[in-house]
Amino acid sequence: MFSRLFAAPIQVSAHCDLPCGVYDPAQAKIEAESVKACMVKAAASSDADFKARALTIKEERSDLVKHHLWVLWTDYFKPAHFEKYPQLNTLFNEATKLAGAGGTKASWDVAVADQLLAKIDEIAVIFWETKKAAA
C-alpha cells in the first residue's frame, strides 16, 4: 500500500562521464563537442532566447576546452614526452588557439569546431601512447 505512494530511494548523478582528478583528453573533447552543438543548434533555431543561450554556452565551453588542454599541456606531459613528440607543443598551441578568440569562441563556423576536434584527437593519440608506455 505504502509502495503505491512512495518509490524506493535511489541515487541520482549530477553527472560527469569521467572521474574527477584524472587526466583524460576526453574532457576537452566533450566540451568541444558541446561547442560544435551550440553552432549547429543555433543555426537551426529561430528562437532568439535559445540562440543567446547557445552563444553563452559556446563561449563558456570554448574556455573550458582551453582549460582542459592546458591542464594536460602543463601538468600531465613531462619533458621526456615533449622530446619524444616534438610536435606536441605546436599541437597544443594550435588546439588552444582554435578554441580561443580567433577560433570557436568567436566563430560560428562548424568547420572551425571540426578542426578543434581533430587537434584534440591528435593530442589524445599521443596521450594514450604515453599512457601505454608508462604502464
Binding site: I10, V12, S13, A14, H15, D17, C20, D49
Partner: protein
C-alpha cells in the same frame, strides 16, 4: 502513475544549487516544468553503456521541435547536458524535483513554551 520518492545526489554538475549528499523529494511521472529540476535518463554513452539517472535543469523544449526536452547542468564547468548529449525524449524524464529535503543533522530552531521567559 505518479509516485513520490526520494533521491540522493551524487556529483558536482548541479553546483551550486545541489551538493553531494543532498536529498530531494521527487514526483515520478510528473510532467517537467521549464526552469525546474528533473530526474532524467541520459542517453547511453559512446560505448553503449547506460548512464545513471541524473538530476538536471529543464531549460526548454527540444529546439528541433520534437516533444523532447532540453536539459542543462547548473555548474558551468562540469557535467553533461543537452549541449553534449542532445534533447531528452519525453519518456527519459522520470520525475520532477519538488524540493530539497533538509539534512538529517540540521539543528532545528528551539521551540520555547510561551510565557516561560528565560
Amino acid at each position: 502513475m505518479r509516485r513520490l520518492g526520494t533521491v540522493l545526489v551524487h556529483g558536482r554538475s548541479m553546483e551550486p544549487t545541489l551538493h553531494e549528499g543532498d536529498r530531494l523529494l521527487v514526483l515520478y511521472g510528473a510532467r517537467p516544468r521549464r526552469g525546474k529540476l528533473a530526474i532524467v535518463r541520459l542517453p547511453d554513452d559512446a560505448t553503449g553503456a547506460p548512464r545513471p539517472l541524473a538530476v538536471k535543469r529543464v531549460s526548454s523544449r527540444d529546439p528541433d521541435g520534437s516533444d523532447g526536452w532540453w536539459i542543462e547542468r547548473d555548474n558551468p564547468r562540469e557535467g553533461l547536458d543537452s549541449w553534449a548529449v542532445g534533447a531528452i525524449p519525453t519518456d527519459g524524464i522520470r520525475a520532477r524535483v519538488i524540493l530539497r529535503l533538509p539534512a538529517p543533522n540540521i539543528s532545528w530552531p528551539r521551540l520555547r513554551m510561551p510565557g516561560r521567559g528565560r
